[in-house]
């Protein structure tokens, strides 16, 4: 199990007022994302636990793109990875952020 963590400053806080959201499942090729609104509004931190090593560069790129696209200020993101491909990771992050914003 490899543990990675990233911190980014954001231009804006994530919309909505939901305190936390959990999305996805820890299954092969899938992942679980927990989002908690516990940080200062201009800050986002992402913690990742993954069974696969050697993909730090890709994780860093996915996290940085997610922060740029969504501006998830105030949110701590915890990822429990089951060996998901980057497209699945991005999709889950976008879905979890929509839940935090109050989406269906």
């Amino acid at each position: 199990m490899e543990r990675l963590s990233y911190g980014h400053d954001t231009d804006a806080p994530l919309g909505g007022d939901r305190a936390d959201a959990i999305h996805g499942v820890v299954a092969s090729g899938n992942l679980e994302v927990l989002m908690e609104r516990v940080l200062p509004a201009g800050r986002c931190e992402v913690e990742i636990a993954t069974p696969l090593s050697g993909y730090e560069e890709v994780w860093a790129a996915v996290v940085s793109d997610f922060v740029e696209r969504v501006q998830p200020g105030g949110v701590r993101v915890s990822i429990n990875d089951g060996g998901a491909q980057p497209d699945t990771v991005m999709l889950r992050l976008l879905q979890a952020a929509r839940l935090m914003e109050g989406g269906r």
Binding site: R69, Q85, M90, L94, Q95
Partner: protein, 544 residues
Amino acid sequence: MSAADILTARREAGAKIASGKMVAAGDATRLLEAVLRPGDRVCIEGDNQKQADCLARALAGCDPDRVNGLHMVQSGVVLPEHLDIFEIGIAERLDYSYSGPQGARIARMMGQGALKVGAVHTYLELFARYFVDLTPQVALVVAVSADRDGNLYTGPNTEDTPTVVEATAFKQGLVIAQVNEVVDRVPRVDIPGDWVDFIVEADRPFHVEPLFTRDPGAVTETQILMAMMALKGIYAEYGVRRLNHGIGFGTAAIELILPTYGERLGLKGKVATHWALNPHPSLIPAIEAGWVEQVHCFGSEVGMEGYLAARPDIFFIGPDGSLRSNRAFCQTAGLYACDMFIGSTLQIDLAGNSSTVTTSRVAGFGGAPNMGSDPHGRRHPSEPWLKGAAEAGGATDPLLRRGRKLVVQLVETFGDKMVPTFVEELDAVRLARETGLDLAPVMIYGDDVTHIVTEEGIANLLLCRDAEEREQAIRGVAGYTEIGRGRDRGMVAKLRERGVIRRPEDLEIDPLDATRSLLAARSMRDLVRMSGGLYDPPARFRNW
């Protein structure tokens, strides 16, 4: 000896083994040894689906001292016997189109010089050459049943049979058909008996492969997201009514969200109404929801017979009540009468060229290069064809503009085991260089591709004005592959502003909608239920 004399000699030699036109399965090898001559050009029917397997075994059983030097012409190299005959010395040369299951062995044999390949063709090219310079002298075809006059009933998998028989029978060639059974009266005449010389009643029913069945249970949310982008960003934008789909999970996902997401977008009756398509089980929900007006088929699909027979309003059905397919006509329909091809591939390079060749396999072409190409012989206009041309620019006078067929590649940025889809150089190019081929086996050329859809977005290549824009548009949807991470971020941002690249959020697609609940059928069982119990999936797909 003239061709007519040779044909007479073949018939006389065969007649000694036959009773009328009938030959017992156990005598099939003797029949072939009697009628074949060294160096003959022989077509054995190996279609995408149905296989003349009894005759293939009989041919492989021939004595190479009597039957040798054959030049095989056939669309599919599918069965082991198709290649065994080259190792034994019965056959020498091969012209073909598709070799999916034998792709690795054919590559190995080519490398060892065990067979001489004339060329790897698309289906339409090979069919065309049957009438010009590769006309078979003997054809070994396959049908469901025959009567004693030799009339053939092919069942729903008519596929290549009419093309092969037409080319052979009218050019003094000999036609031998294997059938599952001999009957007093065939349900319908697909091939008239006077075009057929001998009938072999096979020892077991011919082999058919279910190639187009995709279990909705295996469709992923990423594929659903891509399907939503394609539907909203391409089908709706261009008003694509006449189309062909590839056989992957991505296009199956599109078929499965027509009655749900497509309905929500108000697209029913406006897109995806007329098809050149095999009878995909995953199209059942859209048909049942009234989306589809008409489908012409290259071949059939195992288990779909009952459903097809019940929908003569949609499919081409014979007077006997079963599907009539025809590969040559359907390929022509896909080429000239469809406004869009959308399908997947294994590798795409920075110019948009794509290939399904990997270094150790030569899978051949099949029909994709015809479906996925812009036919310069087309003249009739349609809305998507004209819009494509307008986006591509070119001739300033619209009256002189050539229309553009939409050729869409729908790919996930990574394939199985994190193998990237986007590459600097196609394996096909390396293969060509290493084996001394004149041309790399490119499936779809970059200049024919109009759009690339990945989970990251849609790249509209029609709107790119030079090679650099094209490269950055491709990099801009290549996700986290090395190609994608090598993008010029500033230039990709500009392309996005111009709408050359569109992300899900640019299309106002909510990622929360990209869930399996959007699929009109979520399992094989759903498909069976929605067909009114008429779809009868093969055992391996019965997972409930």
